[in-house]
């Protein structure tokens, strides 16, 4: 039974290898990938249901008992995120053929894509610090492959910065793991947690924790480490941007969430207070960035950052309510960022430009696209009863219960500015005089591009309106995270 836990990693890995062999045949590779992605999603959905009913799946790989071998921990948090990842993946894989050039499709896009999924799923599932590093490398390498795919001028330029910053943070990561290993003598997360707790996180451990935080925060794009994010994210193809926007920063946030609930939970006064301040700055500077530009893709890319701030806020407040807010927001944000990048890809394709000043009146030609974008804006801005609101509500509740007034006010202001930054696109891009389209020939293709995004958006709305179906699970995850003993016991059974 517990062997199931490894499937979310192995299936995409095998898929990635398989499609690498048939990469030359465009139609075949495309259809194969779509079928596999859907099958994968179904399998993961099934595993998710199993986990929800029967509790965590803990797999000792190679049958080496914890803490000696690598442990895969399919708990509800990991499986929720893996499931969401695969949902976004399915939407992307159906969007891809409409947006990628033939060259890009045949030069291993689908392999990179599956490897990325494998890496992301692995990062969510692993219970081993060093193995987390390895999965980080898998997903980063796949992202390098995706970001350079196409070899555009700006694309390569931005890729280079992206690779360099990530390379540095990886090196810092692996070194920090070694520091921690020196003290606690293990790389198994459950055992690390147990041992850190035993010495009450004294001495150098908090400093090491902060280093871990910075490593993950660089990936998650927390203030003041997010500089590398916006431009590289918009330089590749929209489908790649969607995958990045939906998945990569979330792995960083997940890692912070995991390590700072499970391992470094003894010096909350210091570490988590720092998070609250950083969260405030992340929100503000992120949304200021989103307001700073007329490049519609860049607006979306900048909007990744305040969302990260919201999630970090919940971790910083560190109560059951706020953590459940963070998790809900995490799931919501993965989906809505996928939606927005896919939609903006379609918008830019339809308008023939990404400069907002050159757009206008698109709604007369693309009503469906326009209204989907409007809805997505509301979802992103956290207008009730959509999914963004549920997470935000819990974050506010948690914040006010702890009387963290400052962060609550910043969060409210950021919500307004997020809405402003997005509704600008709707008002200036979609409203206005009806004009001649610059690319009337793109109409039918652009119309077809919206469907994967529409599917994701429907789910996102369901996640808000039907919160009753989801929230109890999320709440139970928060409860579980706030009591790390459960995790430790499930891994180190004896």
């Amino acid at each position: 039974m517990s062997n199931l836990a490894v499937l979310p990693i192995i299936l995409p890995l095998l898929a990635g290898i398989l499609v690498a062999f048939i990469h030359k045949k465009k139609t075949m590779v495309r259809i194969t990938s779509q079928i596999i992605a859907v099958v994968n999603l179904i399998v993961i959905g099934w595993i998710f249901i199993q986990v929800r009913q029967n509790g965590s799946l803990v797999l000792e790989t190679g049958d080496w008992a914890a803490p000696y071998g690598i442990i895969i921990v399919g708990d509800l948090l990991a499986m929720t995120l893996v499931l969401t990842t695969n949902i976004v993946a399915v939407a992307s894989v159906f969007f891809a053929p409409k947006s990628l050039s033939e060259q890009q499709e045949t030069y291993y896009f689908y392999s990179f894509f599956f490897m990325l999924i494998a890496g992301v799923s692995g990062a969510f599932l692993t219970g081993d610090m060093f193995n987390l590093f390895v999965f980080f490398e898998v997903l980063l390498m796949a992202s390098y492959g995706l970001i350079v795919l196409g070899n555009g001028k700006a694309q390569l330029r931005e890729s280079l910065k992206y690779v360099l910053i990530n390379l540095f943070s990886s090196m810092l990561f692996v070194t920090t793991i070694a520091f921690l290993y020196s003290i606690v003598g293990t790389v198994n997360m459950a055992q690390i947690a147990e041992r850190v707790k035993e010495v009450e996180q004294q001495g150098i451990l908090t400093t090491i924790g902060i280093l871990f935080f910075f490593v993950f925060a660089t990936k998650a794009a927390v203030f003041p480490l997010y500089y590398w994010l916006p431009r590289p994210y918009i330089s590749p193809n929209p489908v790649v941007s969607a995958l990045f926007g939906a998945l990569l920063t979330k792995v960083g946030i997940y890692s912070i969430l995991r390590t700072f609930t499970l391992i470094f939970n003894q010096e909350v006064e210091m570490t988590h207070t720092l998070f609250i301040y950083l969260a405030a700055f992340t929100m503000l500077f992120g949304v200021i960035g989103a307001l700073s530009t007329n490049n519609v893709k860049l607006v979306i890319a900048y909007n990744i950052i305040p969302a990260v701030g919201f999630m970090l806020m919940g971790i910083g407040i560190f109560t059951e309510v706020s953590i459940s807010g963070t998790i809900y927001y995490l799931v919501h944000d993965m989906i809505i960022k996928g939606v927005l990048f896919l939609l903006i890809g379609a918008i830019v394709y339809a308008a023939g430009t990404s400069d907002l000043r050159k757009m206008g009146g698109l709604i007369h030609h693309y009503p469906v696209l326009g209204w989907l974008f409007f809805l997505a804006t509301l979802v992103l801005a956290g207008i009730p009863p959509f999914s963004g609101f549920i997470g935000k509500l819990q974050l506010l509740r948690g914040g006010l219960a702890e009387e963290e007034i400052m962060i609550v006010i910043v969060a409210l202001i950021s919500s307004l500015l997020i809405l402003f930054s997005m509704i600008r696109i709707f008002i200036r891009g979609f409203w206005g005089e009806e004009r001649e389209l610059e690319h009337p020939e793109r109409k039918s293709k652009a119309a077809r591009m919206v469907w994967p995004a529409a599917g994701l958006l429907a789910l996102s709305i369901l996640l808000g309106v039907g919160a009753e179906w989801f929230y109890p699970s999320i709440e139970s995850i928060a409860e579980y995270l706030m009591d790390p003993e459960i995790y430790i016991d499930s891994v180190l059974k004896e």
Binding site: V148, L156, R157, S159, M171, A178, I234
Partner: protein
Amino acid sequence: MEFIMAILAGILFTTGIYNLLQKQMLRIIIGTGLISHGAHLFILTMGELKTGERGAPPILTEGVESYTDPLPQALILTSIVISFGVTSLLLVLAYRASKINGTDNMEQLRGNDYE
């Protein structure tokens, strides 16, 4: 000895970062090389260093009681291989990026055309 190694690794980080902060691609990439050397040295140091009689290489031999810590070594091996992959990719990327953009000066690769 550990302290000396820690200092050495720190110096490798220092020089690596200094190079990373330069403008020219070659220096930057050399910088990343130095940083990964530094990182690997740190990992090694974090297992207990054992020279001379204190520990044997972790290859099981009759009659030897004390071995050096094998786990950091395994981790370093994995990390070396991964770094190698990244560095090769980075080299090719740098090459392509500088060719297509006509410069290897990172300050000229800012790309402020996204207003």
